[in-house]
């Protein structure tokens, strides 16, 4: 069943449509989540959350803004990243008992974040397709170097080398010296 048929089914029967989306794109969601959450139990919990989010939000999907695959990838990535961040905070909190967690989102930080995003967009536009894919695997899909290396047919050492050069270049272009 292709995306067009899926959308038609969603319009006709949202429950059956959502289940069909999960059947079709379940492996994709699992692939994105397991790249970020290495613990199998965490990944299963996250996939359950994604299923719930899908039941609630799938009707909001707008095909004009991109493919369903891209939308689901973003949903899975963000949900998994939230899980990962929550787990990190828990562990930090346990280690530094009694300390208040930092306040992450201030207006100044938000403005700075948007500026950096624009700078990054310009830098990404200048990358080759191969380097852009490497970047997204590392920073968007948050895949491990081992996974990136295996899927690109590279040795880990070679993948590390490419990532190192990519980081140096980005750092140079984003205002750092990049020579460390």
């Amino acid at each position: 069943m292709d995306d067009h048929a899926l959308r038609a089914l969603l319009d006709r029967d949202p429950a059956a449509g959502t289940q069909a989306v999960l059947d079709r794109y379940g492996p994709l969601l699992g692939y994105v989540v397991r790249g970020i959450l290495r613990d199998p139990q965490d990944a299963e919990d996250c996939l359950s959350d994604i299923s719930l989010a899908l039941w609630r939000n799938l009707a909001r999907y707008d095909p004009e803004r991109g493919s369903m695959k891209a939308w689901l990838t973003a949903l899975a990535r963000n949900t998994a990243l939230n899980h990962w961040t929550a787990r990190q905070r828990q562990e930090t909190h346990r280690a530094e008992t009694g300390q208040e967690p930092a306040h992450w989102d201030t207006p100044e930080r938000e403005v700075l974040r948007k500026e950096r995003a624009e700078q990054l967009r310009a830098a990404l536009d200048r990358l080759s397709d191969r380097d852009r894919q490497l970047f997204y695997r590392k920073y968007y899909y948050l895949q491990s170097t081992a996974q990136i290396a295996a899927e690109l047919g590279l040795s880990e050492r070679s993948a590390e080398g490419r990532l190192y050069r990519l980081r140096q270049r980005l750092r140079r272009e984003l205002g750092g010296d990049g020579d460390d």
Partner: protein
């Protein structure tokens, strides 16, 4: 270190506002690179073009791509693992076979069914591996593109066996079959578009690019080296001792010079050959002996005939060679008219190295053939050889004795054909006479064609 970690965290946060473009979303998969490699490898293995060495280059590249693709998939199921093993066997077999083809040893084409069997097993394993991968995610694959590829491949093989010289209709059918195979194989990639996310790429110790480069470059280097070694036909050279010899041969030399035998050519002949010219009665020389219609392959000729007795002529063909060093195999072939007996062939090649003149005897083999129309038997003498790589001023000569019946006077035609090797025929190895001809009229063969006539005024009749 913390600095880099902060930078990584900043990038991770910033990229949340920059979701990947559509093509990146489609590209980031565990199987895409692998399955594309497999598909391209299969296409290149099926595809054969008998020109510009593509019949060797494309399958070698295809074998590498198949190995790299199946290497990534090998941990997912036993079928992919079998496929990987088969592709490694195929790549090794192709590697060995290519090298064997560069030598004088027999290659592995004596076992064509083994290769066909491996190819069929590879496709079956791919089909079963894809079905299993789809089944594990609850998908049911539509159709069987790989099996269709197998069927089409079988048709091609059968056509090749039972109809090796097909007409245009069969050729077009085969071309259509190939297009179908490619389309079928491309459907493999599409079929995995969702189910393939359950696959896991196997880690590798050597990057695919390095492995491919090592395979292809070492194969090219070894094949080139073996081709040069196999096509170089060594000769046993020895320094030529200048101005030596007995007083008897010195007298013969004096007589021959007096008859018009050029001194520089006489200096090329060994004592044993000069001794055969004892009692010479006449000399005829053709300095520009190349046949007018002959190709210029860098060989220049001087033909010379010595009347050694009233019914016997010693025919000489001297030649200088100015061909590229890459020309390894050379062939000389002396031919004469059928109206007299030819015998006692001899020949040498000579070259200069470090200021010293070297010579090596040619091994001239006689070939006879009979003209069925006139029941006449012709003889020719042929030799295959190579000049040493470092040799300069390459030249040589070859000769035979023509004997005439008492009622004939000595006069006839003598031909020397000199064929050089085309660079493109260095691989695969074959003796020069069995190599593909260059051009409609054999562009790399030139000939000298001279007539001689020692008529009544010469023999005193």
């Amino acid at each position: 270190m913390t600095d880099w970690k902060d930078f990584d965290d900043a990038l991770r946060d910033a990229v949340a506002d920059l979701p990947p473009p559509e093509d990146t979303v489609q590209t980031v998969t565990p199987f895409r690179a692998a399955i594309r490699s497999v598909t391209a490898g299969l296409c290149l293995s099926f595809f054969t073009l008998d020109a510009w060495y593509l019949q060797y280059l494309l399958p070698a590249l295809g074998a590498v791509l198949l190995c790299l693709g199946t290497r990534s998939l090998r941990n997912n199921s036993r079928w992919f693992c079998f496929m990987w093993i088969i592709s490694v066997c195929e790549a090794l077999s192709l590697y060995c076979n290519t090298m064997l083809r560069a030598t004088r040893l027999p290659d592995l084409t004596a076992f064509p069914w083994l290769s066909l069997g491996l190819r069929a097993a590879l496709l079956v394993c791919l089909h079963l591996g894809l079905r299993q991968a789809a089944a594990e995610t609850g998908h049911s694959p539509k159709g069987a593109p790989v099996l269709w590829a197998l069927v089409w491949y079988g048709v091609l093989v059968l056509l090749g066996i039972f109809w090796p010289q097909p007409g245009w209709i069969v050729f077009l059918t085969m071309a259509a079959a190939f297009v179908c195979i490619v389309r079928s194989l491309l459907r493999v990639s599409a079929q995995l578009s969702e189910a393939g996310y359950s696959l896991r790429a196997a880690p590798v110790r050597v990057s695919g690019g390095k492995l491919a480069a090592a395979y292809l470059l070492s194969l090219a280097a070894l094949t080139a080296g073996l081709s040069l070694a196999a096509n170089h036909l060594p000769v046993e050279g020895h320094p030529v001792e200048q101005l030596s010899g007995s007083s008897e041969t010195a007298a013969i030399r004096t007589d021959l010079k007096a008859l018009g035998f050029p001194e520089d050519l006489l200096d090329l002949l060994p004592e044993t050959e000069i001794a055969k010219l004892s009692g010479a009665e006449g000399v005829q020389v053709n300095l520009e002996a190349a046949w007018a219609d002959s190709t210029d392959n860098g060989v220049r000729y001087t033909d010379l005939f010595v009347l050694t007795s009233p019914r016997s002529v010693r025919c000489y063909h001297f030649f200088t060679v100015d061909t590229p060093v890459a020309v390894l195999q050379n062939q000389v072939r002396m031919e004469a008219s059928s109206f007299h007996q030819i015998s006692n062939p001899a020949g040498q090649i000579l070259w200069n190295r470090g200021g010293t003149l070297y010579a090596a005897s040619l091994s001239l083999e006689e070939e006879t053939y009979t003209n069925p129309l006139f029941s006449q038997t012709y003889s020719s003498f042929t030799a295959l050889f190579s000049y040493p790589f470092a040799g300069k001023d390459r030249q040589g000569w070859c000769a035979y004795t023509a004997s005439f019946a008492p009622d004939e006077w000595p006069g006839s035609v003598s031909i020397l054909r000199y064929q050089t090797q085309a660079l493109r025929n260095l691989f695969p190895y074959a003796p020069l006479p069995e190599q593909p001809q260059v051009g409609m009229l054999n562009d790399l063969e030139s000939q000298s064609y001279s007539t001689y006539d020692f008529g009544p005024t010469w023999i005193g009749n």
